[in-house]
Amino acid sequence: MSSLRSPQPPDGLEALGAAVRQVAEDSLFACAEPCERSRTARLLEARPVTEPWLTAAIAFSGPFDGVVRMTLPRALAGDLAGAFCGVQPQSLDASQIDDFAGELANMVCGLWLTQTHRSERFELTPPVVRASAVRDVVAMAAADPGACGIALNDTPVLLGLAAASPAAGS
């Protein structure tokens, strides 16, 4: 069910960033901190242009609808996956890293919704994970008002929150 309410940035993004920090500290033994747009740009500029990145997206529906996206370097996803499962990152294959990236976005989205709307009910779709190019990440960080940066173990991660348009007549 859709309604006219939606989680508009920046409040939604700030709460989403707080959810990332809690997931990082509780389950990943990692340190996450807010990252203003200029610092995010600097961190992104320092990344290799050919570095593989991942975007994990979770769509949610309920009192309002939208999509949460997490975009991060595949190497960081591998390191975090290793910490999560207690294994060497080098032992993980691509499908395991994709699986983890999806679960990470799932935990962040679910935690954010629970912390901000505990009395309301949402349905989450299974995560969708795809490869991203650094140039697209840089462009999104610079221009998308629904995106913000997080430094996770000093590595840039881009969070995105897009509210879906309310269904006609709802």
Binding site: S27, C85, V87, D99, N106, G110, T114, F122
Partner: protein
């Protein structure tokens, strides 16, 4: 769908079924279980409720740890199906979910769920759940 004995032949602890569409989450829970210091028999894994039902039909299981949001068959659907089988009445149900909403908790409490763990959780939280359910080794 996988079956993995983690304590070897002759294990006397309870059998556990972990139901989650994320293989990495299942791996994490298995690891915590192995480190918890409590006797555990066989750990079974399922990626959704339908796979879980197939395992429950074939193997004795004492504890079910299930996610809720899964493709094919959700955890809630699994719990509803379990309610219809008298011989599964004694299985301890534990939900592990990112959804901590009041209405979801209320819904699964009515489906005989004993413990509700919100993701993300610290490994020691899961260890405490296991030790509360099993006698010390």
């Amino acid at each position: 769908m996988t079956v993995e004995p983690i304590t070897g032949p002759g294990a006397t602890g309870p059998n556990i079924l972990i139901v989650d569409d994320s293989a990495m989450m299942r791996t994490m829970i298995k690891r915590v279980a192995a480190l918890a210091g409590t006797p555990i028999g066989t750990i079974f894994e399922a990626a959704n409720g339908r796979e879980a039902l197939a395992i429950l039909e074939q193997h004795p299981v004492q504890f079910v740890f299930t996610d809720l949001n899964m493709p094919v068959m959700t955890g809630t659907e699994l719990l509803r199906e379990m309610q219809t089988r008298d011989h599964w009445r004694g299985i301890v149900r534990i939900v592990i979910s990112t959804d901590g909403s009041d209405s979801r908790r209320h819904e699964v409490r009515a489906l005989s769920v004993a413990i509700y763990v919100e993701k993300p959780f610290r490994p020691e939280e899961m260890r405490d759940v296991l030790t509360s359910l099993t006698p010390a080794s």
